[in-house]
């Protein structure tokens, strides 16, 4: 089936529209009068059309204003087609489009909201986080834009970081959080095809041992060597991770994909690809400011980092 993108279709649609309107006007004026028969045997005049032997068509005239309404509708249609898009691809004098209307109403809404946000833009993140009104707005923004992945309670899920536990892949300072929201993050754990399956099981046991999980000590000891050879570049010799590239700390109890041996084996064998999409095209800087404060406040109200 051909598409309707060629200019010929536009002309065709415009033609059908215009012919339709002028045909309606012609029809109105060509049918102003009706021929009526005066029957000699009765007092009823009819048009002479008879159905089913005795069903006769009479003339019960419509009011004259009805005719004017019809004509006005036709004229309205023509005026509309000049002003608004409708005749094929002709855009209309007013240049209206639904897309443009959406854009302008969004601009209006943003302008209306500017004064609401203005006060928070000037504040520090810590101050914004302490403001109950800002927290409320932040929560609504979070539920709209972030909760799909991070959960309504910001508690995360498998592959989606928990934002409430004070543990940060890319750093938990207000600046770091803002950068994560604005530009997004891409976390890559590479595959390790050079390791055989036994080595991978060994390193998984070693990694588990770092967080104090029960392991096979022999395997863990072998794994330590594998770790030093393959993993320290990102996770560091002490396995505490690196917030610059988002390499997780392997010594804490936070597990993005799971802590079981099988899961860790899967992670090392196949690698992981995590993606936080950039929000700078979606959210205005004012909204990002409020979101940063909300997310920062989620873990800093409890100060779990200090308690650790």
């Amino acid at each position: 089936m051909s598409d309707f993108l060629s200019a010929g279709w536009s002309a065709y649609i415009a033609l059908v529209t215009l012919v339709g309107i002028f045909w309606c006007i012609w029809l109105l004026f060509s049918q102003l009068k009706v021929k009526v028969k005066l029957k000699p045997d009765g007092d009823v005049a009819d048009t002479g059309h008879v159905w089913d032997d005795d069903l006769r068509e009479l003339n019960n005239p419509l009011p004259r204003w009805w005719m004017w309404m019809f004509l006005i509708s036709c004229i309205f249609a023509l005026v509309y087609l000049v002003l608004y898009p409708g005749l094929g691809s002709y855009p209309g004098i007013l240049g209206y489009s639904t897309d443009g209307a959406l854009m302008s109403s969004m601009t209006t809404a943003n302008d209306e909201l500017k004064p609401v946000y203005a006060k928070y833009v000037k504040m520090d993140i810590e101050q914004v986080a302490a403001d109950p009104k800002a927290r409320e707005m932040g929560q609504r923004l979070f539920l709209n834009s972030c909760a799909q992945c991070h959960g309504s309670d910001a508690g995360g899920g498998k592959g989606f970081p928990n934002l409430t536990d004070g543990d940060w892949l890319y750093g938990g300072s207000p600046e770091n959080i803002k950068a994560s929201i604005t530009n997004g993050r891409g976390g890559v754990m590479p595959q390790f095809p050079q390791l055989d399956s036994n080595q991978i099981i060994d390193v998984a046991n070693y990694v588990r041992s770092l967080s104090g999980l029960p392991v096979d000590n022999q395997k863990a000891a072998r794994g330590a060597t594998v770790f030093q050879a393959n993993c320290v570049a990102c996770h560091g010799p002490d396995a505490k991770g690196n917030i610059v590239i988002g390499a997780p700390n392997l010594t804490d109890k936070t597990w993005l994909y799971g802590s079981s041996e099988a899961t860790i084996v899967e992670t090392v064998t196949k690698g992981r690809m995590a993606m936080m999409p950039a929000q700078d095209k979606v959210l205005s800087p004012e909204k990002i400011q409020l979101l940063t404060a909300y997310v920062w406040g989620l873990s800093n109200n409890k100060q779990p980092a200090a308690a650790k």
Binding site: P63, A147, G151, A154
Partner: protein, 485 residues
């Protein structure tokens, strides 16, 4: 159209051209007094007192009847309805339709003749017209060709339209006052600071009132109104209708008062045409039942006055049924036919539905709860011992009092609810006529249940604080708890 000579002599078939559109013939109804005119006056007065007066009443420091479209709250005295309560509107419309069926089955177009806004405003406008321009013949003469446009005619027309527009404007203003607080609306009107939409609707409704009641009048009933048409088909042989008693009236004709009309072979109709002159839709009731008849009874009042003058019994035109006229029965026998299956069925429906409506309204629960399970994540493990699902719970307080709400999850062993900060949830305070959305964590111990989907429900209990009393409201909302493999 040419007339056919009476006698009915066969003439050759003549074909002529007729217009499919006719110019409206202006109707100049003559003023009328009597029982039905009085009833109409009472109903016009009552409906307008209600319509113009209602928005000025207040209740609990707010407008008693206000349909706040922006906030989506509909205040009717002590009741605050939310968009979720649209079922009541549906029920109300069904009840109104059933009532229309019932009234139409019993006595025809009662609504049209006495309570329809079109009739009511036409009636008010005609009253003004009569006061300014005079009765039927004065008005015909004023509009006639012999009366040129001079100072006198201009003065009358301008006065009439000024008064009409005044009423139309007040009607438009009152109507807007049901949707935006009427007192602030009045103030902003005085300061010329109405919003663009308020201005538009004010002009729109004023213009509609002026046009419909001043000019369109019976044209609305004849050509636009769907109720008129379907009421017309809902009458049957036992429906009381404004009827001309053909048996008694025909053959009609004028006669001198002294002669005995029976000996002249004439019926009771003196052919004075008063019934046609008073008709607001300009029909002749003696032609039988017509779809244009709005059942106002003006012709009954007029004819009765004439009958009284010529010393004939009243009721040549009267409310009666087709069957009573055909069988030459009295109205008493027709009244016995009122209780027919149709009427009883409508009545039964209305009674049941109205009771259900009132009962449901009286016991309406102002606490509403919605629970939405997070769709992004199935479930998560917490510290290796509990399995957690996330929900958003929306608690709506549709009352005008504050509520303290408690939420409990039931359906699995050891279900625990925490707020998004991981703390236990205390009483949730929900302000009057507001709602609160909060994310909650629900968890159970790992290992007590196999993996799968479990139906759970949230028992929500609210204490509505009414003055110093507390009313307990409860809701039960279903959801699902997922334990992953």
């Amino acid at each position: 159209m040419t007339d056919i000579p009476p006698g009915g002599k066969p003439v050759s078939i003549e074909v002529i051209e007729e217009s499919l559109y006719e110019v409206r013939r202006k109707i100049y109804p003559r003023s009328v007094s009597g029982l039905f005119a009085r009833w109409r006056f009472i109903l016009v007065f009552a409906t307008q007192l209600l319509f113009y007066g209602l928005p000025w009443l207040s209740w609990n420091d707010r407008q008693a009847v206000l349909f706040d479209l922006v906030q989506r709250k509909f205040y009717i005295f002590g009741l605050v309805l939310w968009p979720q309560d649209v079922i009541y509107l549906t029920l109300l419309l069904i009840l109104s339709a059933l009532a229309l069926f019932l009234f139409t089955a019993v006595a025809g177009r009662l609504f049209c003749g006495y309570a329809c806004p079109q009739t009511v405003y036409t009636e008010i406008f005609m009253w003004i017209e009569r006061k300014v321009e005079g009765d039927r013949f004065a008005r015909i003469r004023l509009d006639g060709e012999e009366w040129p446009w001079g100072f006198h005619k201009w003065r009358l027309k301008i006065t009439k339209h000024f008064l009409w527009l005044l009423i139309a404007f007040w009607t438009g203003f009152t109507f807007i006052g049901y949707f935006t607080p009427i007192e602030t609306l009045g103030l902003s009107l005085l300061h010329f600071s109405l919003g663009p939409w308020q201005t538009f609707w004010l002009c729109f409704y004023s213009f509609a009132t002026w046009g419909n009641a001043g000019f369109m009048r019976e044209q609305v009933c004849k050509y636009m109104c769907p109720y008129a048409r379907f009421q017309s088909v809902m009458v049957d042989k036992d429906t009381f209708l404004v009827t001309y008693d053909k048996v008694r009236g025909e053959p009609r004709g004028s006669r001198s008062k002294s002669t005995d009309h029976a000996s002249l072979g004439l019926g009771d109709c003196v052919d004075c045409s008063i019934c046609v002159q008073v008709c607001p839709t300009g029909i002749d009731i003696r032609d039988g039942l017509q779809y244009m008849c709005i059942g106002c009874g003006a012709c009954i009042d007029a004819c009765n006055q004439v009958m009284e003058k010529v010393n004939y019994p009243k009721g040549l035109i009267r409310y009666t049924t087709e069957r009573a006229i055909e069988d030459k029965k009295s109205n008493q026998s027709a009244i016995r036919h009122i209780l027919r299956p149709r009427v009883l069925i409508y009545t039964a429906f209305i009674t049941v539905l109205a009771s259900a409506f009132l009962f449901s309204l009286a016991t309406r629960n102002p606490l509403r709860v919605d629970v939405m399970r997070d769709r992004g994540a199935l479930a998560r493990e917490v510290e290796g011992v509990r399995i957690e699902n996330i929900y958003r719970i929306q608690i709506m307080n549709a009352s005008e009092h504050p509520m303290k709400v408690r939420v409990k999850a039931v359906g699995l062993e050891d279900l625990m609810i925490l707020n998004s900060q991981g703390k236990e949830i205390q009483d949730i305070e929900v302000a009057p006529a507001s709602n609160q959305l909060m994310p909650i964590k629900v968890s159970t111990t790992i290992g007590t249940n196999e993996s799968g989907n479990y139906p759970i429900h949230f028992d929500v209990t609210a204490q509505e604080i009414v003055g110093d009393k507390e009313v307990i409201r409860t809701r039960d909302e279903k959801s699902t708890f997922i334990i992953p493999r």
